[in-house]
């Protein structure tokens, strides 16, 4: 089946339901299906070729996504924040193709027989003016639907292939058709080139939950839009939540209509989620863990589990606030050692995942083993009750004197110090230990903790092997545009620089 079939179904049942934009003036399900049909005609220039889309999250995004699906073309969102050189290279790799982009992104590229170009606004205008195409979408579940570039924080980005069956499995296994109430509205602030941007659009559409897009995230706009549009549901990455918490504290805004806030896309610092839980007691929080290659979420920690963790006296239950919950019913996750052998509950290892939504496939190469398992390259563990703890990328695990140390655990300890506002922990090669623990921290204005004070602080909370051998003081932690820490940048200048202070 085709992802557009999901839109066919909901638009046949409830064509007048507003699905996109303002409650009164937004686009209805029936209109979205009509625009996708017209878009297929506009997209007949390079049949069978990927459609490159590097606009922000505006109405052009769903129209292009579903239009491409009707036309039988894969939708390939591309970051509009790439530098001009890599951007032009990426587009050239995909020729012949169609590119929907703002002129600022594409100014090194010229239109020609192999490259059609349009701005997002120009594309939408052309679609509105086009005649209905009447195209009948192909139903081949094996056809590629979305080509997504992984974020590549640890290496060169790869193109993950998500076929129609991966996306439709994800939607059908987790979403009830038109299950959203008429007052529900979701605020989407992740960009189209992030898996949660694509998945959120599909699950929002199928559940009938009105989608309000925030094309350029700022915490001030997010809070103002959530209040003005009476938003009930939202998804954010951890750095966004940290900024939102600050704005809520400054403005006193309580977001009374918000019911459900999910977060994912990186490790959530415990102080941030605890502050958010305190500021928004009426909101159900959901921690979601997933990868581009797994079609978004594969494990969730639900609202009740958050509340139980916060109010529990049992340290094991409280610690679940740092877990990503349990696997979705349609997904299996196991923890294995470097040789692929299962490790006992609670022991560290690598997380492997299997399920209908798991693509595990990059352009032309599948990374699934013969039994369908995909190695996430995420370090983690699974406790006796099946709660999954993600410790970060396997490449980021510090091996000190033969002991595997999780940066996340040490970062959380540092973040609990009142003078520390941000912390990243990584390994630095060392002749004696193999690797030593280095902490790069940002301190609160006006505070001036010594390295010895911070080392003593960590030693009071964790075993001595976890105490950073070296502390670097930074004004800012290097992150990519979605808040993922660029550890390779820190490691590189760590090796160049002499120990600080």
């Amino acid at each position: 089946m085709n992802i557009v079939t999901l839109l066919d179904m909901v638009s046949s049942v409830d064509p007048d339901r507003v699905i996109l934009g303002d409650r009164h003036e937004g686009v209805t399900l029936g209109r979205l299906r009509d625009l996708a049909d017209r878009a297929a005609g506009v997209l007949s220039d390079h049949p069978g070729r990927p459609l490159l889309f590097s606009g922000t999250a505006t109405e052009a995004f769903p129209i292009a996504l579903f239009g491409a699906a009707v036309a039988g073309r894969a939708f390939a969102p591309v970051s509009y924040r790439l530098a001009a050189g890599p951007y032009a290279e990426l587009v050239t790799d995909q020729l012949p193709t169609t590119l929907i982009a703002e002129p600022t992104s594409s100014d090194q590229l010229r239109e020609g027989p192999e490259l059609s170009m349009a701005t997002p606004a120009g594309f939408v205008a052309a679609v509105r003016a086009a005649a209905p195409s009447g195209a009948e979408p192909e139903q081949d579940p094996e056809a590629p639907a979305v080509l997504l570039h992984t974020s590549g924080t640890t290496g060169k980005p790869k193109v993950a292939v998500l076929r129609h069956r991966h996306l439709t499995s994800y939607v059908l296994n987790g979403t009830e058709m038109l299950g959203a109430g008429p007052d529900e509205a979701a605020l989407v602030s992740v960009p189209p080139y992030h898996i949660a941007g694509v998945a959120g659009l599909l699950t929002g559409m199928y559940s009938g939950r009105r989608i309000v897009q925030l094309p350029n995230f700022t915490a001030e706009d997010w809070v103002a839009t959530a209040a003005a549009q009476e938003i009930t549901h939202a998804m954010v990455v951890p750095t966004m939540l940290a900024r939102i918490v600050e704005v809520l504290e400054q403005t006193g805004e309580t977001l009374p209509t918000l019911r459900h806030l999910s977060y994912g896309g990186g490790r959530m610092p415990r102080p941030v989620i605890e502050r958010a839980l305190g500021l928004l007691p009426h909101v159900g929080f959901v921690n979601a863990y997933g990868l581009t290659e797994t079609t978004s979420s594969i494990a969730v920690l639900g609202p009740e589990e958050h509340r139980a963790a916060v109010s529990s006296d049992d340290p094991a239950v409280r610690a679940r606030l740092e877990s990503v919950g349990r696997p979705l019913p349609s997904v299996e996750i196991v923890c294995r050692d470097a040789l692929g052998e299962p490790v006992p509950p609670g022991e560290p290892g690598e997380l492997w995942v299997r399920g209908d939504q798991v693509s595990g496939e990059y352009a032309a190469t599948s990374q699934l083993d013969d039994d369908g398992w995909f190695r996430t390259k995420d370090a983690g563990r699974i406790d006796d009750d099946g709660y999954v703890f993600v410790e970060g990328r396997l490449d980021d695990v510090i091996v000190r004197g033969g002991e595997n140390l999780s940066p996340g655990e040490i970062e959380n300890a540092l973040l609990q110090h009142p003078a520390v506002t941000d912390a990243v922990v990584y390994g630095q090669p060392d002749e004696m230990w193999g690797e030593i623990v280095v902490a790069a921290i940002v301190t609160a204005p006006g505070s001036d903790p010594t390295p010895e004070e911070l080392q003593a602080w960590v030693a009071s909370l964790l075993r001595s092997s976890r105490v950073p051998a070296r502390i670097r003081f930074l004004t800012e932690v290097p992150r990519n545009d979605l808040g993922k820490v660029l550890r390779r940048v820190l490691r590189a200048d760590s090796e160049a620089a002499a120990p600080s202070r």
Partner: protein, 96 residues
């Protein structure tokens, strides 16, 4: 007939339509209201005692087949005489 993921089938004499999500390896007869389903839904209608609902997934006890109803109508759905039942979906918190 040999089912394949992605194919759409229509019932005769009613509005029911399904899409095959998961197909058994061997040939089977898929019926709606006791009458075989086909690509075009032509032919005489069958019984209309049951109901098939859009958005629901239907499967057999052994889990060899899964169908998604894409248009509601009369039923019931059956494969080789075994009535297919609604696959219980577990309500999940929205995560993206």
């Amino acid at each position: 007939m040999l089912l394949k993921p992605g194919i759409k089938l229509k019932a005769s004499g009613t509005t029911t339509e399904i899409i095959v999500i998961q197909a058994p390896a061997e040939e089977v007869t898929l019926t709606c209201g006791g009458v075989p389903m086909t690509a075009d839904g032509a032919g005489e209608g069958g019984s209309t005692e049951g109901e098939v609902l859009i958005g629901k997934r239907y499967c057999d006890a052994a889990g060899t087949v899964e169908l998604l109803c894409s248009a509601s109508g009369a039923g019931p759905l059956a494969m080789d005489g075994e009535a297919l039942v609604v696959k219980a979906a577990k309500a999940l918190p929205s995560s993206d």
